[in-house]
């Protein structure tokens, strides 16, 4: 297993980002974080990570900004093949926005979801799975490629 993999976390909550960083560093991963999605996008293009962990909600007004950035990444030639793990606070148990990974995933070019608060065991498991997969299923978005 590639323990030196580079993981890029884009998350505006510094504490949530730190928790994920510590959890993944404990597994010997190389972790870089960004709190702003636009800056994160630019930085990700330079860093060429093996995996991107992307939050959905950035601030109260931008509850689906993460969706937009997921699409933007799939349309970028440098990032299209990088798998995305999306951190969701918006599913059935999180009212106000009826998005459910179970039913709506096909409209979103992300490879997996993880619910907030991300539990270490769950996070590590999903990260390992996506790193083994290596290439995003959505590298040819909007077409699913596997």
């Amino acid at each position: 297993m590639n323990k030196k993999a580079k993981i890029f976390i884009i998350e505006d909550d510094p504490d949530a980002a730190e928790v994920m960083k510590v959890t993944l560093q404990a597994q010997d991963y190389q972790v870089i974080t960004a709190s702003d999605p636009q800056k994160g996008f630019v930085k990700a293009k330079q860093m060429k990570p093996n995996l991107i962990i992307l939050d959905v909600m950035f601030g109260k007004q931008e509850m689906t900004k993460g969706f937009d950035y997921a699409v933007k990444m799939k349309q970028d030639k440098d990032l299209a093949s990088v798998p995305i793990l999306m951190v969701t606070a918006v599913n059935i148990r999180h009212p106000g926005f009826k998005f459910s990974p179970e039913t709506d995933a096909e409209y979103l070019p992300v490879d997996d979801f993880i619910d907030k608060p991300a539990q270490p065991r769950d996070l590590v498991e999903k990260v390992e799975k996506l790193l083994e997969q290596k290439v995003s299923r959505w590298r040819a978005w909007p077409k699913k490629t596997d």
């Binding site: 928790v19 509850m63 059935i92 608060p117």
Partner: protein, 459 residues
Amino acid sequence: MSSQTLRYRPLEDLRRRISWLILLRWIAIVGLFAVISISRFLLRLDLRVMHLYFGNAALLASNFAYALYYRKMQFKRANIFINVQISLDLLVLTYLLLFSGGIANPFFLFFIFHMVIASILLSNRAAYIQATLAVCLFTLLIANEFWTFVPSDPLFAYRLSQRLGTNTIYLLGLFAAFVAAIYFTVYMTTSIVNTLRRRETELEAAIGRLEIANTTLELKDREKSQYVLTVTHDIKGSLSSIQSCLRVVLDGLLGVVVEGVKDMVGRAERRSLSLLRYVNELLYLSTLRAEIKISHKEVAPGEIVERVAREFSTGVADKSIELTVTDGTAGASVYVDPYGLEELCRQLLDNALKYTFSGGRIAINLSLGKDRGLLQLSVSDTGIGIAGEDLPHVYEDFFSADIPENREVPSTGLGLAIAIQIVTMHRGTIEVESTPGHGSTFRCSIPVGNKPSQGGRVG
């Protein structure tokens, strides 16, 4: 129902009335042709048949013209158009009577229903003007009895009119009765029509008010959603970060944790997790209550139930509980709110798991009613059960039976309130049966369509 279908459209309405008038005239033309032909050729009445056929043809030609013009009619011309039609109809009627015995011909009664039509289609003023035109034309017919512009020979009425023509009292009486009948007809019909029109206007205003109310409601709903989202982001975001930070410590990712520290941090972590769950349920319940519509989607209920049951597999295994799922729907699809059904199932199962002792049993049963219009979900357990006096209160917010066993069970007291809210939004029913010490069974019946409902409204 959408506002589009409710909206009253005056142009559509007017168009419908005009096409009705044209249709009536087609019937009249056929009828007139039949009456002339039967009178002349079957009854062998000595009619001036060519004049009458000419009148019939004029009516036919005019109606063709009306039908053509109707297609490209402009809204502002519609009233003039109806006025012209009725006036010309009155002229044709007078012409036909003139050549078929004048006032001796009982068909002069047809003036009356022209007035009814005018009163329905026109403004009151226009209807009275048409009535006056009818009276003028009738006066012309009476005058013809005296001065005979058109000789009413050799009709069946000839003898009659000979006598009538000299009977001034009768003619005056006939005139008076005719005038009264005409104006009364217009008066009575317009009264009724006015009432109806007023109701129409009121209805239109009511629809307008409803639309405004609906928009306000939607706005309020959005505001509420925004509020909920803000709370979601602020409180839940913080709570989940607290929980994650503590979890990282507990998992020893930052180094070995001494036993006493681990215990305290563990308590804090568990409390933050249960608080997170509490906030989630509270928010979910208030969103459900703020919701006006539920969205039905095609789902296989069996899959949803299986999925929820899998979520609980760890909890079930921890307490060595035997969980059985019996799916009697044979993979059938129904239209329900998928999120609602999932959450309903989750809450009932969570409730059963909480109150069932280790080694107990939980059974989930899913079936479609006989006519496949009802989805039936039941969750039975062999848990502590619910006392009779508590049964009516189990669906209340924050309810928790005051028994010693309960103090051990962490509960938000919102699970069943969420369950009944979901069932109610589907216009379904939920009932509970319980024997204290032996267990409880919750049964839900949810009406399901085979087609998506157009957003079932919840009153």
